[in-house]
Subunit: 462 residues, 2 copies
């Protein structure tokens, strides 16, 4: 239905794709396609619409896959892991070994297989730990309950489920638990309830628990092996490169904004700061998942992933200023050309120094070396700030001189005008100076990261 | 271990809490507590540390519960739903009815019970639909496979699992599917795999599927009834009030920042904009969940929840400017007091008009009425902008006059000085004007919301 109703919005079929309409149209003229469409029966129209829709979706999926082939590989990895674990059902010898509980292996693979290694490890370890503790506790409660008579047993088991589920559910609101053990808390409640409750029926509770644990362990191992050995996607590296990419975008959009303002030409790269503003939640989730990952590539086991969040925060604080700069530079009041020209050189220099420092920082992070020239670059950036200040100080004199005004009665009017008109320009300049302070903040955060992650001294071979 | 090693960081026990140290200390002097601590045995020290840790955690939980009692209620609701569903295991007649598959009811309740009604509905409906379609498809594939010989059966079943899991996993990367059917995709793969695979063993597949579906339906119904009937938490209302609260915070922090700048006193409320900046992900997830909710309170079934995201975006764009204003107002260069005093009245008026408009907007949203005086307020805000402009125009004259300067040779120096010094002030003023533009953007977004949600005309009784 939705597809059919959208068919007017679809690109109309061209003559070459139209085969076998219900009434034949002998002459096809350009522009007649709208009329022709009505000559198809409703079924045919629906078919064409669906076909167009499907082809749009397929194209979109194809583009998505081509943009990031890792996503396609992830799909195949999940399929492969499931196919492997299914063998535990099909092949008799294995089947007799783990029994009907093999279902748990399939379930485990489906629910814990995540895109990143960190995600799979987080869920896998949470599931293992929660199954063990939940199951153990349930067996304990069940043992105590079995010492009493049947009515009390019911009360004890049911109220223990009630109390534990309530407390653990509430504890999921604690931020630290939510971040690390949210999935574990769910599985803990699930396992406890299932074991406590099923124990009431099944005598060989411990035996059952053992079987179930072994199948869950099989599921987790298969899942983690496939996830980590076949084209692994590490949350840590993803975070690392996300921050580097964002830092480059920030540098480019700073340059772009200033260029745009002084040249008046639209620069596409000027919008890059928006990515930085919007990537907080990705950074947070990647940093959380990266903490579960073992050492990989250049990153050690206790790589300071949370410091990346600090770098991200410093970058966002810079991006907010660029956003304000971007709005101010599109203000309706335009500063007089002469003034703009006077300041443009110093401003462009400052912005290129600031963005140069950002690029240097991203290059440092990319090769995980501490920078040799960073402190010089920061110093140059500060000098550029001073130059902008002195350009600003010399501004009114020059401005008035060029207009050839002498100190006469008109001067006062001139001055007034200039302060009002120069407002957006002054704002841009002041925000540029503010941005250079924020860039220093980013530099500090990256330096702290370098200290924590033990970046190599510059010049050393990687 | 962690608790014990942290014991030095804990507040040291005071004399009154120290009972029965292992060696008695007869004289307790102030400052001696550090020494005394060493006189406890390690077990005692660990006990004290653990006790302090536990009491900290309990206090934190208590505060969390007192701040938002709905979280405590949610815990009890989950416990209650689980206790109810457990009765399906305990009570024989019911047990015989739904069989061992009752486990699925418990599992369903645990995994789909979410904090908000929208979350539970999203998961419940996704689970129901995915179980039906996944199960149905698996039965179909199993039927086709059963027509062939055993070797082919294995190949067909296993490759269908591989292909479906790969395709569906990949489709989860499509943003629209991720937003609405992420959980459903997981359950689809899970059900398909389990049924396709278990069908190879169990003859009465349809019968089993029926049982399983009925238990899942029982689980979903119990879960949704408890979730919706006992103190329901609606994602929609939460989103509505989050936006209103944030709008008030934005208004207050705008006023606060300007006050802080002109009076020089720290205003606590000036930091409120940070909440607005950081609430994007909450808004997005609440808006996604709210779309699943039925009509509740003043909100109809197709309430335009996505427009709330637009309002949120407009507010964030305003908040970025306030952040820049906040940084600029803490700049090291301070504008001369006279200039500041000259502009303060107009600026404070503009900020109070802007924040007044925001407050009016939040009040409109709170009672879901369109505002009578909003357009007047926006007009007044624009007038205030003009007043600021004219104050700015009259500034140098007055400034110089008050200093008693005549147009002489010093004048030029004076002027230069003033442009440099006035820079942060000009920036603050310019950002204030920019903010008033952003407030208009918020007003437009709220008006559009009012149109879509059919806000009542102002003055009508609610």
């Amino acid at each position: 239905m939705a597809a059919a109703s959208k068919d007017t919005a679809m690109p109309l079929p061209t003559a070459s794709t139209m085969v076998a309409p219900e009434w034949r149209v002998t002459i096809m003229e350009e522009g007649s396609s709208v009329k022709m469409e009505h000559e198809f029966g409703p079924a045919r129209r629906a078919y064409l619409a669906v076909r167009a829709k499907v082809s749009t979706i397929v194209k979109m999926l194809w583009r998505m896959g081509a943009d990031d082939p890792r996503k396609v590989v992830h799909g195949f990895k999940v399929g492969f892991a499931l196919a492997v674990v299914s063998l535990f059902y099909y092949l008799r010898p294995l089947y007799d070994g783990v029994g009907g509980a093999a279902m748990w292996a399939v379930m485990t693979v489906v629910v814990i297989f995540e895109y990143t290694v960190g995600g799979s490890l987080y869920k896998g370890l949470n599931r293992a730990a929660a199954t063990l503790t939940g199951g153990g506790l349930a067996v304990g409660v069940h043992y105590i309950a079995s010492l009493t008579d049947e009515a009390w047993e019911l009360v004890i088991l049911n109220s223990s489920v009630f109390i534990l589920a309530s407390v653990v559910t509430f504890s999921r609101f604690v931020p630290a638990i939510k971040r690390r053990f949210d999935y574990g808390a769910t599985i803990f409640i699930l396992t406890f309830s299932l074991v406590a409750v099923s124990g009431y029926r099944v005598d060989q509770l411990v035996n059952l628990a053992q079987q179930r644990l072994s199948t869950i362990a099989i599921g987790i191992s298969i899942c983690l092996m496939v996830c980590m050995l076949i084209c692994p996607v590490w949350a840590g590296s993803d975070l690392h490169y996300l921050i580097i990419r964002n830092m480059d975008k920030l540098a480019e959009s700073l340059e772009g904004c200033v260029e745009e303002y002084f040249s008046g030409k639209e620069a596409q790269k000027a919008r890059g700061y928006k990515c930085v503003i919007n990537s907080k939640s990705s950074e947070d989730s990647l940093a959380n998942l990266a903490a579960w990952e073992p050492a990989h590539g250049p990153f050690g086991f206790r790589h300071p992933w949370s410091q990346y969040q600090q770098v991200g925060a410093a970058m966002r604080s810079c991006a907010y200023c660029i956003e304000a700069l971007h709005s101010s530079s599109h203000s309706e009041i335009q500063a007089p050309e002469l003034m703009k020209r006077h300041l443009s050189e110093a401003c462009i220099k400052l912005s290129s120094k600031s963005s140069g420092a950002l690029k240097e920082l991203s290059a440092c992070m990319a090769c995980m070396q501490s920078s040799e020239c960073l402190s010089d670059m920061v110093k140059e950036m500060k000098e550029a700030v001073e130059e902008v200040k002195s350009a600003l100080k010399s501004l009114p004199t020059q401005y008035n001189n060029e207009l050839g005004l002498e100190k006469d009665d008109d001067n006062m009017v001139m001055k007034r005008q200039s302060l009002m008109e120069s407002m957006p320009l002054v704002t841009v300049v002041s925000l540029l100076m503010e941005i250079s302070v924020k860039v220093e903040g980013v530099a500090e955060a990256v330096e702290k990261l370098g200290g924590l992650a033990e970046f190599k001294p510059s010049g050393s071979k990687f």
